[in-house]
Amino acid sequence: MSSKTINLTLKVWRQNRKNPAGDLETYQANDISTDMSFLEMIDVVNEQLTEQGIEPIAFDHDCREGICGMCGAVVNGRAHGHMPETTLCQLHMRHFKDGNTIVIEPWRATAFPVVKDLVVDRGALDKIIQAGGYISVNAGGAQDGNTIPVPKENAEKAFNAAACIGCGACVAACPNASAMLFTGAKISHLALLPQGKPGAKRRALSMVRAMDELGFGNCSNEAECEAECPKGISITEIARMNREFIKAAFS
């Protein structure tokens, strides 16, 4: 943990009610410690902007430990920046060089309208889950947990799919703004478990339909989503979703 400081030029997307079309503004970020996270760097810039009487940059963030899925921005053209399997809050400034220019933009997708600056509305992802991303059991009356054995391998595959944090980077990275990795992850998680079997058919049909209706695009096998997913969700989840969908559609 040997810290040093670097100076950066930021080009940040600013969009608000007074400037509904939005544009890039340039700011200097000086004396940035390389131990800072990317969001802490924005905090420092925001403190300076506030002192200069400029409204701080609006950005979503919450847990700052890479699990809540609230943060995210396109950094130099990459969703969550250039480090693999890393959310924006876990991207650290030691991965940038002194004198770098960094372009910071919001997720861009028809289904994610910009709220302000880097903040977008990802409510469409909740709507996909509402369409069937659950197992229909009420509280109370569940049988003993150990009466449902699940092969370790399947449990682990289900876990890997369930690790999705719903940040929306897959949509932002996709040239078609497709939500197939997100939807595939949830369909796979539940399809891999015996508990998920009874509702599998309805789930696959209904979630895929919702995804289409909400304005997300289709998959053309670019695999950009997998490359940018901070949780390493694999596009095999999309393949599994397609199998589940076809199985459901033809049975």
Binding site: M1, P56, E65, G69, R122, V137, A155, A163
Partner: protein, 637 residues
Amino acid sequence: MTLESKIPSGPVHEKWDRHRFELKLVNPANKKKFDIIVVGTGLAGASAAATLAELGYNVKNFCIQDSPRRAHSIAAQGGINAAKNYANDGDSIWRLFYDTVKGGDFRAREANVYRLAQLSVNIIDQCVAQGVPFAREYGGLLDNRSFGGAQVSRTFYAKGQTGQQLLLGAYSALMRQVSAGKVEIFPRREMLDVVLADGRARGIVTRNLVTGELESYSAHAVVLATGGYGNVYFLSTNAMSSNVSASYRCYKKGAYFANPCFTQIHPTCIPVHGTYQSKLTLMSESLRNDGRVWVPKEAGDKRPPEQIPESERDYYLERKYPSFGNLVPRDVASRNAKDQCDQGKGVGETGLAVYLDFADAIARDGREAIAAKYGNLFEMYEKITGEDPYVTPMKIYPAVHYTMGGLWVDYNLMTTIDGLFALGESNFSDHGSNRLGASALMQGLADGYFIIPYTIGGYLAGTRLPDVDASAPQFKEAEAKIREQVDRLLSIRGKRTVMDFHRSLGKIMWDHCGIARDEQGLEKARQMIAELREEFWENVNVPGDAADFNQALENAGRVADFMEFGELMVKDALDRKESCGCHFNTAYQTEDHEALRDDENYCNVSAWEYTGPDSDPVLHTEPLTFENVELTQRSYK
């Protein structure tokens, strides 16, 4: 008002069953006539909202984030306890109950804790049925591990992401009810007041964080599940938006606040590394199952860890507590880490860290086995620090993590305001003065899935509730007051930012009301907070407009409440003239530097009543009786 805990009579293991039978029921056909507001969508809030909707109530569910799935329960790593005894190692409901009462240093209610232990087994079943992908053995059955403060393996887990998986389970149940039309979700709303009619909670006022509009919502009952107040310390492992405002504003409307000074400092966090730091990151204490905590024997030894031979290392937890070793409860582990650093044995650049070393575990079990258990935690550590814990021992230091204090509630989880309930971390009831690892998730879900669905029915069935709608004058009054505060915050345009004030407040709280406390420091803190608060209202710079998405304004309101609440914490700490669990007053300690309780005078719950901005809060106490677990000095030797 006297505090009536409403604990049912009878032997502790029969109380909940008897109470469930005695509670009045709402006829299934009548449930749809009741509207219930649930604030918060973490484990407690989401499970409550989903379950109440399943029963037929109409639920309005509010959250501060853009989606209910982001609540901070999601960050819980290690696991959830349940007395299943799948490991066949002597666990039972009684043992989980006993461990929790003792772990909480005898400042929790026996009846509540017993109920929690009973319900723990139902939670696991419910979560498995929902498809929560818990870790499993090769035979397909559920796997368990041991956790700090316990000598049995009763912790269920999903890698280091147990909170995430449990929350996604509750969230999926919630989304199912949204789809069924029984829950309406209000994201990006911050609750800024509770509204009373005829002395009962009948609604809330929120600020729409996108438009800035104030919105009023009425209901027949209000359920608060708004989490803890660890961010009063500025640096904590809490998410950035975690705050005390919803609870604090209920306190100002008449809900008593219980044990505010009980704040848990978690022993295994990544140490502070700079003044710009915005938050601290927890490393699950499950790491203490395999990691060994040590410091150099000599103070001031600045050699890198690999150059310090075995004979010159002090594995101080194993030395001092041979039977629990590295698995002592959190308060004990935190205090010991601070002691070592105070003696000059701390490691790293700042000297405020101790080693958590996996070398022996890797040599014993192999790198692959350790990676399977802790891989994601090791990766997270490396991302933040740039150091590889497979090669170099982790550096850890205690950080604020959880708050045992919260709104006072009775056995039905109802606050001192009729019709206002508090669940999960936002209430005070189950963890006493120290929470054991893997118990927070258990409590949140027990409250939401299995307690509130019964107790709220008892309230609604037994209470006459005339119609109140959101256009009632009480709502307009509350809105006007909030508007006034918002306008005032925006009109100051001073020189210091909100974050700057928050950082100053946090430093006062950490220095004087943190791991160790003393009367002099607490008195000093009280004065410093009062001065800081005065300066805040003269010199804070809140940019932007009220009718807009304005994060500085959101934070300003939260910090303003923290400034008042911090003083209440200090007052509570001053008043409790003993040490217990996490509340360690240096004047009260045993010869071995352990917390020394005063059961004669302080075997009670402190519940504070708000009496106005210019007068001191009034203290009410609820005596605690221990009929099943003998009051003893805790020993982990």
